[in-house]
């Protein structure tokens, strides 16, 4: 189904081993339990970034993922708190709702291109934040707090997922959940990119008119891609709200939308795993620089500028350089 070469299979194996066995061992040995939260956040943010990357794949700059993450977080929180749903049911519901919103909004705004699309999605983030402040169901600026932890799931009496509230170490549980979600997301993304739909997306990235003239239904594909992208955003946001056990209108702001986009740029737009690497570097780097106190932002932004100045095509383009030299 994935047509991986042996080398790629080994790489994936090492990666899976590292995140499921290696990281807990290292954290256990060093005692830096706070890294679990950092890495969980990285995993979830990279799910949302994967969505942004997908919209890049059809040649659109998406700075609106924060909006869909916020929608997902609110939908899940409202379903769990007010309707009493299980979190595991509310998670796909949050993704689907975000995708539905994306279809409704996407049909008009996906006609825009380039900078116009970038700016309107940026504005969209602001609209969702303001809507969350104005609507009664979202509790306005007070937000939704003390959301219960995900409950257990059992099928025919056999427990499938444990009850998070009764667990001694929810950090580890959340870490594993986030990692599994991230891997499923990127596997889906990889499959999508290497499918017929992926080919059509690449044709749109290069020239929409030409693609349309040879019979690609561009209006349909761009809405579908935008919906999938927002689905990822909604899932990431919903899971984030569940871990933080609270959602506020300020949970995902314009800055977060910009960061999602930066993750993709930094990792490299030509590589499926770019956004994952970009998120890891940006978020982990930001966390590590915490030691520098008030100079944190200065050092962080300086490094960011230096990276883009000397590697304008993203971190993974280093590999491409090496390939060219041979």
């Amino acid at each position: 189904m994935f047509h991986l070469t042996r080398k790629q299979l080994i790489g994936v194996g090492i990666f899976l081993f590292a995140i499921f066995v290696g990281v807990p061992l290292i954290i256990g040995a060093t005692g830096r339990w706070d890294f679990y939260f950092t890495l969980t956040s990285v995993a979830l943010l990279s799910i949302a970034s994967a969505g942004v990357w997908l919209t890049f794949y059809i040649g659109r700059i998406n700075i609106g993922q924060g909006a869909f993450a916020l929608i997902g977080a609110y939908v899940s929180a409202i379903l769990v708190v007010k309707a009493g749903w299980s979190f595991w049911l509310s998670l796909p519901a949050a993704g689907l709702f975000a995708a539905l919103v994306a279809v409704v909004i996407g049909i008009p705004i996906l006609r825009l291109r380039g900078v116009y699309f970038a700016m309107i999605t940026l504005v969209l983030t602001q609209v969702v934040t303001l809507t969350a402040l104005a609507l009664p169901i979202t509790n306005g600026a007070r937000g939704m707090s003390s959301i219960p932890l995900p409950s257990g799931v059992s099928l025919f009496g056999i427990p499938i997922l444990p009850d998070f509230a009764s667990m001694a170490n929810t950090k580890l549980a959340f870490y594993y959940t986030a990692c599994v979600l991230m891997i499923v997301t990127y596997a889906a993304l990889y499959r999508l990119v290497n499918s017929r739909l992926g080919h059509l997306c690449r044709s749109m990235q290069q020239n929409e008119e030409l693609a349309s003239s040879v019979g690609v239904n561009i209006a349909y594909i761009r809405v579908v891609i935008f919906a999938i992208s927002s689905f990822f955003g909604g899932i990431g946001g919903a899971m984030f709200g569940s871990i933080a056990q609270s959602v506020y209108p300020s949970s995902f702001q314009v800055v977060d939308s910009v960061n999602f986009m930066l993750n993709c740029f930094l990792g490299g737009l030509g590589y499926v795993f770019g956004p994952m690497l970009g998120t890891l570097v940006l978020y982990f780097g930001w966390d590590l620089l915490f030691e520098f106190q008030q100079y944190q932002l200065l050092i962080y932004s300086t490094l960011l500028i230096i990276i883009i100045r000397f590697l304008p095509n993203g971190l993974l383009s280093l590999r491409a350089y090496k390939g060219r030299d041979k």
């Binding site: 825009l112 740029f265 008030q294 960011l304």
Partner: protein, 289 residues
């Protein structure tokens, strides 16, 4: 009603200046300058330092704001944007750079000026009062007049000088301009510096009325993006229209909708999205920018 219109003119003239700088940079280099709001804040803080702290005359302080931003803008273009535009496979990589610069300027502002709200003494006292129907402090009228004057000066510069002609040629077609002997690199730098200067000038003007703080950068950038979208990206008349329209919408919204809470901006955003769905290139823009 008169009051609302006057507020609209006042807000619109300042917004138009911010949008002009952003649209100029966009037209010349296809760069969406995320750091525009931060440049505006820096302009405000420079005027605050010279006028508020050191007691230099206001006009000199304003000039210092412009000079600082011209130098800053020229350096940013020369050292960062120009090489990145040349080296990147996709034009959009400049967005990452612009966002990085926005973070960087935020960090610099935080370290140099702190995070407190800063204000300066009033330039002139007194309030213009027309039969209690139209009330406007004199300093606001002065700032509004200065802003309109600057806009006129900017348009004159673009229309009647050699630099302006070169910049317009560059905005229309970069390659053609180069073939006609325009020094493209040099005028890109000049254009970027000019755009940054406009942001600094508005900052310097507005610090006398609203004051300045660190957090104003981001929201200002978003407002500037909205104005540029209303008018059409990269078109000078569009930026002015966008600024005026947003200014009036805000003035009317704040007056009419104040009893419903803070929904003015929500309505502006929603109507903007509907407007763009009907006319994607804005009022004056070329299709697909």
């Amino acid at each position: 009603m008169e009051q609302i219109l006057a507020n609209g003119v006042y807000l619109g003239s300042q917004y138009a200046m911010i949008a002009l700088g952003l649209t100029l940079i966009f037209a010349l280099m296809n760069v969406l300058n995320f750091a525009h709001g931060q440049m505006y804040v820096i302009g405000g803080f420079v005027t605050y330092t010279f006028y508020g702290q050191l007691g230099v005359p206001f006009v000199v302080a304003l000039a210092m704001s412009c000079i600082t931003l011209v130098i800053l803008g020229a350096l940013i273009e020369k050292l960062l944007f120009a090489p990145v535009i040349k080296g990147s496979a996709r034009e959009e990589s400049t967005m990452l750079l612009a966002a990085g610069i926005a973070f960087f300027l935020d960090a610099v502002i935080l370290l140099v000026f702190g995070e407190k709200q800063r204000g300066v003494p009033k330039i002139i006292d007194g309030v213009f009062n027309y039969d209690f129907r139209l009330i406007m402090p004199y300093d606001r009228i002065l700032i509004c007049a200065l802003a309109i004057l600057s806009i006129i000066a900017f348009i004159a510069l673009m229309q009647y000088t050699k630099t302006g002609r070169a910049l317009r040629a560059l905005a229309q077609d970069r390659v053609a301009a180069q073939l006609m002997g325009v020094n493209v690199d040099r005028y890109s730098t000049i254009g970027f510096a000019l755009g940054a200067m406009l942001a600094g000038l508005v900052g310097g003007l507005l610090v006398t009325i609203t004051g300045m703080n660190l957090g104003m950068g981001g929201p200002t950038s978003i407002k500037a993006f909205m104005m540029v979208m209303i008018g059409g990206a990269g078109v000078i008349s569009g930026a002015i229209w966008g600024g005026i329209i947003l200014g009036f919408m805000e003035a009317i919204g704040l007056a009419v909708l104040s009893q419903y809470g803070d929904i003015t901006y929500l309505l502006i955003f929603v109507s903007l999205m509907i407007f763009l769905a009907i006319r994607p290139q804005g009022l004056m823009g070329k299709p697909w920018g």
